[in-house]
Symmetry: C2
Subunit: 233 residues, 2 copies
């Protein structure tokens, strides 16, 4: 027998854990640079040695590039897989919210489990039923089925200049209680905000809504409200 060229192994499906690690690395490297062991560990709520072990396996399977003691980055293959998971997650959140009456605070947890169990076909049926949405309920862009994702440079409300008018674009989707509070305050993606004051020493930002009412937002929360310049600016 001559040494046959091994054709690209029919790679086994990724496990739930692997899928979540890839998503973490994607999110932690979205501004460029490396994802560190401890950041991944914190995000996934596992111990650092668990991450080291997984990183070794993932680099052996070609999903990430690991520079020891530096951190990791996704390979093109890893990035494709991560974007597919993010598409699943965000389509699920959208579907649960629009079609099944879920609160936008509750969908993240549900999607975090379902994203590993749905087929490609089911996701595309949901996307179709929704009219191919481009943003999830929290304003995050949904990657296309082909693996493209919109990248916008957003500025947090905590950093928006006083006097400027911005549009709230995206909100972190992790904390149900925080999301419910924001909804009560009318702080949903798409709302227009004019920054009318900011107190010093990391103090609160005051903003006026379209209806003339105002909101005072502490810095911790304001940092999580990602905005883009209003159209007419």
């Amino acid at each position: 027998m001559s040494a046959a060229i091994r054709s690209p192994q029919p790679s086994p499906p990724l496990t739930r854990s692997v899928e979540d690690y890839l998503k973490s690395v994607f999110h932690l490297t979205s501004q460029g640079g490396f994802a560190t062991t401890s950041d991944i560990a914190e995000m996934l709520e596992v111990a650092p040695p668990s991450v080291s072990g997984m990183m070794k396996r993932l680099s052996e399977t070609g999903l990430i590039e690991h520079v020891p003691y530096r951190g990791v980055q996704l390979t093109p293959q890893g990035r494709r897989a991560a974007l597919q998971m993010i598409r699943r997650h965000r389509i699920l959140e959208s579907y649960l919210t629009s079609k099944l009456g879920f609160d936008w605070g509750d969908v993240h947890v549900e999607a975090e489990r379902l994203e590993h169990a749905v087929s490609e076909k089911l996701i595309e049926r949901m996307a179709d039923a929704l009219g191919e949405p481009r943003y999830d309920p929290h304003g995050a862009p949904i990657p296309t089925a082909a693996g493209e994702i919109e990248e916008a440079e957003l500025v947090s409300l905590a950093a928006a200049e006083v006097g400027h008018t911005v549009v709230l674009q995206e909100v972190s989707d992790e904390h149900p209680a925080r999301l419910r509070y924001l909804a009560e305050q009318g702080l949903r993606p798409g709302v227009q905000l004019t920054v009318i004051d900011r107190q010093p020493f990391n103090g609160p930002t005051t903003a006026r809504l379209g209806d003339g009412t105002t909101r005072v937002v502490g810095q911790e929360l304001a940092l999580l409200l990602l905005c883009r310049p209003a159209d007419g600016e």
Copy 2:
């Protein structure tokens, strides 16, 4: 410290494997009696020793009763868990069929994965959106949220007496191709069938449909078509 009474351990959530084993035991004991190791192994496509090992664990956690070398039965707790999984499975199949345009041949595989990832809340939202359906797309009864399931004594088309009229009630949901064939033939749950002939030596059954057309069904398939007497009989 006095020996405190250990309050009922906050039992960890069941794993995917455990849930599937419980469902198998339920199905295999639905006619009474014990589920055997080899039947479970065949149904789940695992080796018999895997079943023996799992049966030991499940009887330690009180989900099944194991009589060595005889087989297993569900405890009330195991039965509750199994029925919950069957409800999830069948609601999912119904939802995918009615709301997302899935073919009735494809939904089983999809539900087999999703049943382990959906929350109680999601299932109840789906059930609500469907109007609390009582049967899944294959005619199988859906357990209630409280854990009640309808039990009907059905007779297979292969056993229905010649001359009698029956209503097709339920069809095995496991084989996509078979289900597509049945749909083509108009053999869906609810259809009325008059048995007009049966050939000897396990030969085919001939039945007339409501529209006067006839179908010839081999015994293997006829055994899987479960019927009840027509209303007016």
